[in-house]
């Protein structure tokens, strides 16, 4: 099911309808495994478009097909009107790409890294210095221009990569999980920087992320991807509205009876109840305050202890649960647990 609205920004205004990216029934197969399964969407000029999903959902595969890095099995992708399979070089000249890994040369200085890429993109020698000066200012690395990249922090290196992707003035900017591995302060700095860059350079941005707050804050529209399929696509607000219930109550109980989940469903305005284990319940409701009051009264009457309780607005995680039946954060925890299972008690 794809809920689609045409290029509606966070503030509710409609954007230009010229399409920077068009993806039509795109498929990627590795042998019998289908990594991307018949995905279609478009991104309008000037839009920030997010691909949200857990690790292994197919986001990076999608971005790699759009940026000519891997061949497409079926379907087609148009970048700035250029078919990436038929005219890859024209597509490449339109785009800037920031891969997931930090790939700038550690032994080279900040300026040298930018200079090499400016040459690879045929930026004329006269323009190169001016362009690099401007970009270094934009990503706040002017005073680090002669520093070797290995001396920079992770956040600074990510900013350098962003500058590198913009060195040839692309129209469309692809960022594959640009804030993964960064501390919260650096993440916010990258978000602000991307907002500024987008406005100054009139860029179209396609970003993949598994951070819900990142997608919520940055993106005009979000496509939720799961198991290689596109399961929902809309503006963040519209996606949240598409989920029944406007509040989420998370409560942990002790000494609760076996039919506690059924009893919770009987509370006023409740649309769904999910038991997450260890006595923790996640209750979606259309009226957070009224359901909370009734829930506490019911717990007291039944002799059930309430260990913790929180009420919040619907998030994109709830949207993900609604469309996939699973929680995005659980999927991420599974992915991390797979990577580092050795030390007992170590939580990601």
């Amino acid at each position: 099911m794809i809920a689609d609205v045409n290029a509606k920004a966070n503030d509710g205004t409609y954007l230009s309808t010229t399409r920077a990216i068009e993806v039509e029934h795109i498929v990627k197969k590795y042998g019998d495994f289908t990594a991307v399964d018949d995905v279609s969407f478009y991104v309008n000029d000037g839009e920030i478009f997010g691909l949200l999903g857990p690790n292994g959902a197919g986001k990076s595969t999608l971005i790699r097909m759009m940026t000519t890095l891997i061949p497409i099995t079926a379907g087609r992708a148009l970048i700035g009107g250029h078919d990436v399979a038929k005219d890859p070089d024209a597509a490449r000249r339109m785009i800037g790409v920031i891969p997931q890994a930090l790939t700038s040369d550690l032994d080279l200085t900040v300026e040298e890294n930018l200079n090499i890429y400016a040459k690879l993109y045929d930026v004329p020698a006269k323009e190169r210095k001016r362009s690099i000066d401007e970009l270094l200012g934009l990503v706040d690395l002017t005073k680090w221009r002669d520093a070797q990249t290995k001396t920079l922090s992770g956040g600074m290196r990510r900013r350098l990569e962003i500058a590198r992707g913009l060195v040839h003035h692309p129209k469309i900017f692809f960022l594959d999980e640009p804030t993964t591995g960064l501390d919260p302060v650096s993440r916010v700095a990258v978000w602000e920087m991307l907002g500024n860059i987008k406005n100054q350079r009139q860029l179209t941005i396609l970003i993949t992320t598994h951070y819900m707050d990142e997608a919520d804050r940055l993106c005009d529209r979000i496509a939720i991807v799961d198991h290689g399929k596109l399961v929902a696509l809309d503006a963040p607000m519209a996606l949240k509205k598409s989920v029944p219930g406007s509040n989420v109550i998370e409560a942990q109980f002790e000494n609760f009876p076996g039919d506690w989940e059924q009893r919770l469903r009987t509370l006023a305005d409740v649309t769904s109840v999910q038991h997450e284990g260890a006595g923790m319940y996640r209750v979606l409701t259309g009226n957070g305050s009224r359901t909370t009051t009734e829930l506490v009264e019911m717990a007291v009457a039944a002799g059930v202890a309430v260990k913790s309780l929180s009420v919040q607005n619907t998030t994109l995680d709830d949207v993900f649960v609604h469309y996939t039946g699973r929680q995005l954060r659980d999927e991420l925890q599974k992915a991390y647990a797979f990577v580092m299972p050795q030390r007992p008690g170590l939580q990601p």
Binding site: R64, I95, D105, Y117, L120
Partner: protein, 370 residues
């Protein structure tokens, strides 16, 4: 062209910022030159050889005197006198002795009767070099003993007069062409092999692939960068190696030009070969694992440390297609024999064709996508 130059510039900047890697590619061949050159250059001295005289006659005494003469002069071996043959053989077996000469009972009598007199040499043939040296020395010694006291009127044997074309070449000098070739190979292995795969694994190539650079430009840029690193290594090792081993021919302008051309062609041939081997490899461990295999497979059959003429046919077959063989031969001609360029054009032609063929195969195999 700008794209190729950008790749080369990036590689060169990285190269000069990592002096440890640059030194590593040069130190190994230099250490080999100095250590192997000195270790293998000398002759056997003071080997311990037992003499078990079970005869005690005058002819046995002549043999013992001959052994004492060797000890006093060329010192190939030191005789150690044993009474018991069994003990002597046992000591050869357990490594206390390097060999044993047994003079059997009735030896002198058999000599006088002209009845096939024999002495026995027991050698530890697990060490071929030592056993060959002892066999050779003992053969000379018995031949000398067999000389008749009165010379026949007519000389029945044809004498061989040996004319050496070049002054005596010490082993370290002999090893220099091989060490120079090895230095370029190590440079290519590190600069063109390991770093190439490491860059792939780190995603650096992903950065290249999203730019409008063509497949040919990318391949030529990476190969040119690897070859330039090997040329720099070759020039430095050629000068340092020649100075260490006392080869003065490098100061001849014609030789210098020939060496430069050989270094460039060898670097290109090695780098394109390495690129072909690595073109589809993704795992950074593979080039590290391959280093030892390639070193053995290419360096040792090349004639760098032992003459190809001593190889069995199958090993000669490897040497025939091994670019190392042609590089070593070319450098040997220029450094040790001071030949003109005409003598090495065959080596240069092979290296040029080898580079063109390996590059020609590698280009279609190179993937422009991930």
């Amino acid at each position: 062209m700008n794209h190729i130059m950008a790749i080369v510039e990036r590689e060169m900047r990285k190269f000069f910022r990592s002096p440890a890697l640059m030194l590593a590619s040069m130190i190994f061949p230099l250490v080999q030159l100095v250590i192997l050159g000195n270790a293998f250059g000398g002759k056997i001295r003071d080997a311990r050889v037992a003499i078990v005289d079970q005869d005690g006659g005058t002819q046995a005494l002549k043999i013992r005197e001959a052994f004492d003469s060797v000890r006093a002069n060329i010192r190939t071996f030191v005789p150690v006198y044993y009474d018991n043959e069994k003990h002597a053989v046992e000591d050869v077996r357990n490594g206390k002795l390097d060999g044993a000469v047994i003079i059997p009972p009735q030896f002198s009598r058999r000599v006088y009767e002209d009845n096939h007199p024999q002495i026995a040499l027991v050698v530890d043939n697990s060490d071929n070099f030592m056993s060959s040296a002892l066999e050779s020395e003992l053969t000379d010694l018995t031949n000398a003993l067999n000389q008749p006291t009165v010379e026949p009127r007519i000389l029945q044997q044809t004498a061989l007069s040996i004319v050496e074309l070049y002054p005596y070449i010490e082993y370290m000098k002999y090893l220099l062409p091989g060490s120079l070739t090895l230095a370029m190979f190590v440079s290519v292995m590190i600069g063109g092999g390991m770093l190439y795969i490491d860059d792939k694994a780190r995603g650096v190539h992903e950065g290249y692939l999203v730019t409008p650079i063509t497949k040919l430009e990318l391949v030529l840029g990476l190969n040119a960068a690897g070859a330039i690193k090997a040329v720099m290594t070759g020039v430095i090792i050629c000068v340092i190696g020649a100075l260490i081993s006392g080869v003065n021919t490098i100061f001849n302008p014609v030789t210098m030009l020939g060496l430069l051309v050989m270094i460039v062609l060898t670097s290109l041939a090695f780098n394109t070969m390495m690129f072909l081997l690595m073109v589809r490899i993704e795992d950074p461990l593979v080039p590290r694992a391959m280093f030892g295999i390639l070193n053995t497979l290419l360096f040792f059959p090349s004639g760098a440390i032992y003459p190809i003429q001593a190889f069995p046919p199958w090993l000669r077959g490897i040497a025939e297609v091994d670019p190392f063989s042609y590089a070593v031969d070319g450098f040997k001609c220029l450094l040790l024999k001071e030949t003109t360029l005409a003598a090495v054009w065959g080596d240069m032609l092979f290296l040029s064709i080898f580079a063109a063929v390996t590059l020609g195969i590698a280009i279609p195999l190179f993937k422009r996508t991930l």
